[in-house]
């Protein structure tokens, strides 16, 4: 009994709760626990999952990034246009990384150097970048000429589609970076107490710039994979992505007040979001009721996690 309690209320409590919920869903929802559905589910969270990796850093350092959706769309667009123009997928990939990186860098510099509120800055770049995407494409989707580009998303390795592998690699890498590197620890320190970190000699503004730049690059990767999956660059893609990603992170225990983050939590958060959508569609829940159910699941997930941490007596 007590060991069960310990398990639920311990560090990995969210994971345990998630595992239980997963088991219940698997047993009660028909077609859920099939290989096809699992792969479909994982593919549906690739964009959110990849972007959540760096969003976790961003939130952990007490920042905020609303521009990710636009950046994903813009860099996906850039990849398609550049590869169409040059005939080389590699050039497309590089173009996307450059575009994404620049957006991130600009965010970082404006926020860290000019000390402008991150919410406003990224709200502004969100619009500007979306504008660029629309201008570049004249508001219409751009089709991919080279069928090889589709292969990025369609190819499989050991029976699992490449995008899922990419997401997995990102999870592992960023989990390691967060816990085991100076970069990760400094990120948490900045979020936990920026003043103390600065006085300890951490170059806070450089760190923030790096985090945003990384966010931009990671968005570019997500953008390329998305374009490949939907076989075109779409200026309207990924709208509202920012809120989904931030929700996934917060669900996973990343503190908006900075300083607290864990990769396992974020993975669970991402999966909860994906499973909720998946199950609602499997159960054929009406569109309007989906809104309500989605909201309730979100509430329930944080509520459970909260009860857990309240019981564990952790300080707010």
């Amino acid at each position: 009994m007590t060991s069960l309690k310990k398990l639920l209320l311990g560090e990995q409590g969210l994971v345990v709760i998630f595992a239980v919920a997963f088991a219940i869903v698997a047993l009660t929802v028909p077609n859920f626990l099939t290989e096809r559905n699992m792969l479909g589910l994982l593919q549906s969270v690739v964009t959110i999952g990849i972007v959540a990796c760096t969003m976790m850093f961003c939130l952990a350092s007490r920042d905020f990034d609303l521009s990710v959706g636009s950046t994903v769309a813009f860099s996906g667009m850039a990849a398609v246009m550049a590869s169409n123009a040059s005939g080389s997928i590699l050039v497309g990939l590089i173009a996307a990384l450059i575009c994404g990186g620049i957006v991130g860098l600009v965010n970082g510099v404006v926020i860290a150097h000019f000390r402008i509120n991150a919410l406003i800055t990224t709200l502004a770049t969100m619009q500007i970048v979306r504008g660029f995407a629309l201008i570049a494409s004249d508001g219409r989707a751009v089709g991919i000429n080279d069928p090889g580009f589709y292969q990025l998303a369609l190819s499989k390795f050991l029976g699992i589609p490449t995008p899922i592998w990419v997401m997995g690699v990102f999870f592992v890498v960023f989990g390691f970076v967060l816990n085991r590197t100076v970069f990760g620890k400094n990120t948490l320190a900045i979020g936990g107490n920026p003043e103390a970190s600065r006085l300890a000699g951490v170059n806070v503004s450089n760190m923030r710039i790096w985090i945003f730049a990384l966010q931009g690059l990671v968005c570019a990767v997500a953008g390329v994979l998305l374009a490949s999956r939907i076989t075109s660059g779409q200026p309207n893609a990924a709208t509202g992505l920012e809120l989904s990603v931030i929700s996934a992170c917060v669900l996973g225990g990343v503190s908006l007040a900075g300083g607290r983050a864990a990769m396992t939590g974020v993975i669970v958060g991402v999966l909860i979001m994906g499973i909720a959508e998946n199950v609602m569609n499997l159960l054929n829940i009406q569109a309007f009721y989906q809104y309500v159910v989605r909201g309730l699941i979100l509430l329930l997930a944080v509520l459970l996690d909260n009860l857990r941490s309240a019981a564990a007596g952790r300080r707010g």
Partner: protein
């Protein structure tokens, strides 16, 4: 011995305040140099300039004759300067070891060598004599333990110059001894130490030389501390003589006003009971982690209680929350001004009136004039150094912030029981005696006052009775007539308390 550290006509201003003007003095190699002055005199500002965090408007700092043009904390660190700031600068979410290494993590290619991280810190802490777990999160430590971790930071990394800004303000005598031993060791290694404190006995005990600042200007420089007297320093600091800091006045004690019965909570497992009479000032003494602050928070209802009742003037106080305690006539002035006291971003005036303004607002509409009057009165009374009452409290010096928080509670009306946790933490000698005067006046009006302090002379100086706490229990009760430094300390030490015949069970209210 040659001059090792030199400040040359340093000036620094903030909007509305000239924090330092034309300050010059030198410190010899291997010296412990004291820095004293009233609250807001510019001590921390000087230290901040030395740390590289901010740059002076004018003047320069020289180390071994070399002008230091550094512009960042990292540069200062490279020049061998380490500063422990007045406010704790730790990251609560990281562990002790991580905090100590922050800014200088060990490891290759950005990957942290975790084993080394913990091992080195563990060794250092043991060596220094600080008993905290290197892998504990800072958030789980008490404020005193955090202060010790801060201090460990200074010795972890070899430095030529170490500046300590009021390091003992939240330490009790036992931890202070550890710090003093450390300072001795550093001195013998030739490290220059700049030591800021408001406690004169510490200054005399540790320092070789001394500088006194007043209103941002150099008031006096004493290359040899043995040539000055306490009174002389006080006069240089405050600009007037203070004969007796404590100025204790006897009072007639009335009937019981506050009674606490078998109170216990999450961090205080053993039930505690005590009572305070009208007009009485009761002192709580103990070492770090003795549980005094926890006790105070439980009594006030700031934390949830497991059991116990609080009775004021025969009426039970609902256990729930601070608002209910305040309505019942009890207030608590908390120990940690940064986290529990100041409201950042708001003015001095608003910070002071936050609780008492309900007395002079009509249907929730404020009386701004009354608020202003209140603020001006306490700014004058507590000698708060500020350009105006509209100043954001975050821009005040540490001691002045503390005074504002005190003002908040001293201005509260209809108070029957006043609980003050570390009332004079970081407050200068001059203001201290003002505060004691106010406490005596309030007591004379019949208020019951509970003072928690880690400064033994203070507890002995101003209270009528002392309860000594040790490991969450009341270890001894001593009346003013029996005050004896040795006896109090003996009761506060855990090992002695367990072995001796001193009462370890709950002490019955007298």
């Amino acid at each position: 011995m040659q001059d090792f550290l030199e400040f040359r006509s340093i000036s620094k201003g903030y909007p509305g305040v000239q924090a330092l003007s034309d300050v010059s003095f030198t410190v010899r190699k291997g010296a412990v140099h004291g820095l004293m002055g009233e609250n807001g005199a510019g001590k921390s500002t000087l230290i901040r300039l030395l740390s590289g965090d901010q740059a002076a408007d004018e003047g320069e700092i020289r180390i071994e004759g070399e002008a230091q043009g550094y512009r960042s904390v990292r540069d200062a660190f490279r020049a061998g300067v380490i500063v422990i700031h007045q406010e704790l600068q730790l990251v609560p979410e990281l562990t002790v070891a991580e905090n100590l290494w922050l800014g200088h993590f060990p490891g290759k290619g950005g990957v942290i060598d975790r084993r080394q991280l913990i091992r080195v810190v563990g060794e250092k802490l043991t060596e220094i004599g600080i008993d905290v777990d290197p892998s504990a999160k800072i958030a789980s430590l008490s404020i005193g333990e955090r202060q010790m971790v801060e201090i460990a930071k200074a010795v972890m990394l070899d430095a030529r110059v170490i500046a300590l800004d009021e390091p003992t303000s939240s330490l009790s005598s036992r931890e202070s001894e550890i710090l003093f031993a450390l300072i001795e060791r550093l001195r013998s290694n030739g490290t220059v130490i700049l030591y800021v404190s408001h406690r004169l006995d510490e200054i005399f005990r540790l320092c070789d030389s001394l500088t006194v600042l007043r209103d941002g200007k150099l008031a006096a420089h004493h290359p040899d501390i043995s040539k000055v007297t306490r009174d002389q320093i006080i006069a240089e600091m405050v600009g007037r003589e203070i004969a007796d800091i404590w100025g204790w006045r006897g009072r007639d004690l009335g009937p019981e006003r506050l009674r606490v019965e078998a109170i216990a909570g999450p961090k205080l497992k053993t039930p505690l009971s005590f009572s305070v009479r009208r007009g009485e000032i009761l002192g709580f003494f103990g070492l770090i982690g003795a549980g005094r602050s926890e006790m105070a928070r439980l009594v006030y209802g700031a934390d949830t209680r497991y059991q116990g009742t609080v009775v004021i003037d025969g009426a039970k106080v609902p256990a729930d929350s601070p608002p209910q305690s305040i309505r019942a006539g009890m207030v608590l002035c908390p120990e940690d001004r940064k986290f529990d006291g100041i409201v950042q971003g708001r003015s001095i005036e608003e910070n002071m009136a936050i609780s008492s303004r309900r007395h002079f607002s009509l249907f929730g509409v404020l009386d701004l004039k009354k608020e202003a009057e209140l603020a001006d009165r306490f700014i004058a009374k507590l000698r708060i150094r500020t350009p105006s009452r509209k100043q954001d409290i975050i821009n005040l010096s540490g001691g002045n912030q503390q005074k504002v928080i005190l003002g908040r509670w001293l201005s509260e009306q209809g108070v029957k029981v006043l609980v003050i946790d570390e009332p004079t933490r970081g407050i200068d000698v001059g203001a201290k005696s003002e505060i004691y005067e106010i406490l005596y006046d309030l007591a004379a009006e019949g208020m019951a006052i509970v003072v928690i302090s880690s400064e033994l002379p203070e507890v002995m100086g101003i209270t009528d009775r002392i309860l000594v706490m040790c490991q969450g229990r009341i270890a001894a009760e001593i009346a003013r007539a029996d005050f004896d430094e040795r006896r109090i300390l003996a009761a506060a030490l855990p090992d002695v308390a367990n072995a001796s015949e001193l009462p370890t069970e709950q002490v019955q209210p007298s």
